[in-house]
């Protein structure tokens, strides 16, 4: 092959890939369009801001899940872990509030980050050291975390001290130059996630492990360590989400975060990350989280569907969105 030919070779290939990467954003745009058509209120600045702010939780946890899934893992415990971390955090804050006042908030947040990371570490170690399917391990720890939060709340609920509430509230409801804090936090988390995934050695190894763990091992990558670390990142992200969550609802209950794991994994997969690992799209995950939240919002706004059928329509929209972007991006 002559060098002239070589020069003209792939070029366009990168373009095609990037086009496919756009799929979740296109799907998002379509669903937003649909929303605007169905209900004129949908595009109200207020409504859009609410939806975006709310999607922060799934997006933040999703960034962590993207790491786990990219290594070929899966974490079903995130919803319960989130409830557990929220519980611990509230307990820590409440017990500190009498002594240190509002300083209990940052200290509690710190506790949350540590506890979240440790929960992730536990998941990771059981999976890598014990060599058990992540599905089983995290299903087990899902039960464990859920039981702990039920125990901590005595089956009821655990509320944050009134004295802390007003100081803490702005973290969810406040904004900076018009941008709500949770959105800022999501963007920061996603930026850091993208940096770690795409620009650091560790991120390189994450995709390598997910793509072919044997090759990674031969190349001197500590496969177990990379996997475990992904779960720690997941735990950390759960804790960040928990920190944003508490000011919104102010309490932990045994049902906090229930079924979030399914939403998070759906967001990650819709975002273009492969469940088998080896490929990761942080920003796609964020788009996926937005898609889910927008669909739920549109369902609330439109009055067309019987209350019983909301879940059906949501499920159908997700499938149709995936089909649509498969058939548009396939050609």
């Amino acid at each position: 092959m002559s060098s002239a030919e070589i020069a003209s070779l792939p070029e366009s290939e990168g373009f095609r890939i990037r086009w496919a990467d756009m799929a979740p954003f296109i799907a998002l745009a379509l669903i937003v369009l649909l929303g605007a058509l169905i209900n004129s209120n949908f595009m109200a600045a207020n409504n859009l801001m609410n939806v975006i702010t709310r999607s922060a939780f799934i997006a933040i946890i999703g960034v962590g899940a993207t790491f786990v899934i990219a290594t070929g893992g899966l974490d079903l415990s995130i919803g319960s872990m989130m409830a557990f971390v929220v519980g611990i955090m509230i307990m820590a804050m409440n017990s500190l509030a009498p002594q240190i006042g509002v300083w209990a908030i940052p200290v509690g947040a710190l506790v949350a980050l540590v506890v979240g990371s440790l929960c992730g570490l536990m998941n990771g170690l059981i999976i890598t050291v014990g060599r058990i399917e992540p599905f089983i391990v995290t299903l087990g720890t899902m039960g464990i975390f859920r039981a702990f939060i039920t125990y901590m709340t005595d089956g009821g609920s655990l509320s944050i001290d009134r004295s802390l509430r007003s100081a803490y509230r702005p973290l969810y409801f406040g904004d900076f130059l018009g941008v709500p804090y949770p959105v800022i936090i999501t963007v920061v988390v996603a930026l850091i996630g993208a940096f770690v995934l795409y620009r650091t050695k560790y991120g390189r190894r994450v995709t390598a492990v997910g793509s072919n763990s044997d090759v990674a091992r031969f190349s001197g990558v500590h496969v177990g360590r990379v996997r475990t670390m992904a779960f720690v990142i997941q735990g950390f992200c759960v804790a960040v989400a928990a920190i944003c969550y508490v000011p919104r609802l102010g309490a932990a209950t045994p049902t906090t975060g229930q079924l979030w794991e399914l939403q998070v994994i759906t967001a990650v997969v819709i975002g273009g990350t492969l469940l088998r690992g080896g490929k990761a799209h942080i920003w796609g995950t964020v788009a996926g989280a937005l898609i889910l939240e927008v669909i739920a919002n549109v369902m609330v706004l439109s009055d067309m569907v019987s209350e019983y059928l909301v879940a059906a329509v949501q499920g159908a929209i997700i499938i149709i969105a995936m089909l649509a972007h498969r058939f548009t991006s396939a050609r």
């Binding site: 409504n47 609802l249 045994p254």
Partner: protein
Amino acid sequence: QDTEFTIAVSIPAATHGWTGGVVYHAQEAERQIEEAYPNIDVIVSTASSATAQVSSLEDLSATNELDALVILPFTSEELTGPVEQVASNGTFITVVDRGLADPSIQDLYVAGDNIAVGANTAEWLVDKLGGEGEIVVLRGIPTVIDDERIQGFTEVIDKSDIKILDIQYANWNQDEAFTLMQDYLGKYPNIDAVWANDDDMLLGVLEAVDMAGRDDVKYALGGNGMKQVIEMVMAGDERTPISTPYAPSMIASAMFMTAAQFAGQAPMRGSFKLDAPLITPENADQFYFPDSPF
């Protein structure tokens, strides 16, 4: 002719029998109110978790000028702030069933009394068992409702010589109640009575007791006033002679009262506490709604 009014109704999604009844009655009430008052628009919105309920509150108030909000909160603590937010726009607030942590937010309160559901059942049972015996209890999903019922029940039982042999979660699910009851029966050679805290679970319990053919179980009680169970009460069933109403139709009452605000009748404010009297063969027909799915 008149101004248009919008009433938003926020309730839990139909995940089990009782909430299913709530959704049913809310939808019925929506139809009737909209028929009766053409200038009132009712929006019913269900949510499958506290988080989702907060989200739907945000959605409803961001996109509509709400004149009134009727809400059956998932939990008290978690919904207080968000409802307060809605109220601050001048929206009339009707709270159903569970009170908010700050009662000053609400204009109208239609309350169920979960503690009484537990306590009344317990008192009846203490009476019938003569203050002594061994019983087992099935809990629902770990939530405030469940917690309050159990609290009301155990407080009364603890004052008697009745012993609660075991208490476990069956998640307001017939299957899990069946399974759990089978295991209870296997574990305890003598059980005088069982309380299932909800009629959905009671059906599973009865099936398990029948299958084991155990006649030591003198009483098997539920709660909530489910259609099938009320039929049993009416028929004078020996094992299940009573139930406790915790009518999901309370949402409809609350909606009608709220609508009345805007239909020009006298303003309705204050608290209405629904009693939890025992449903007995004598009064059962008052609690029987053959068309309700619950």
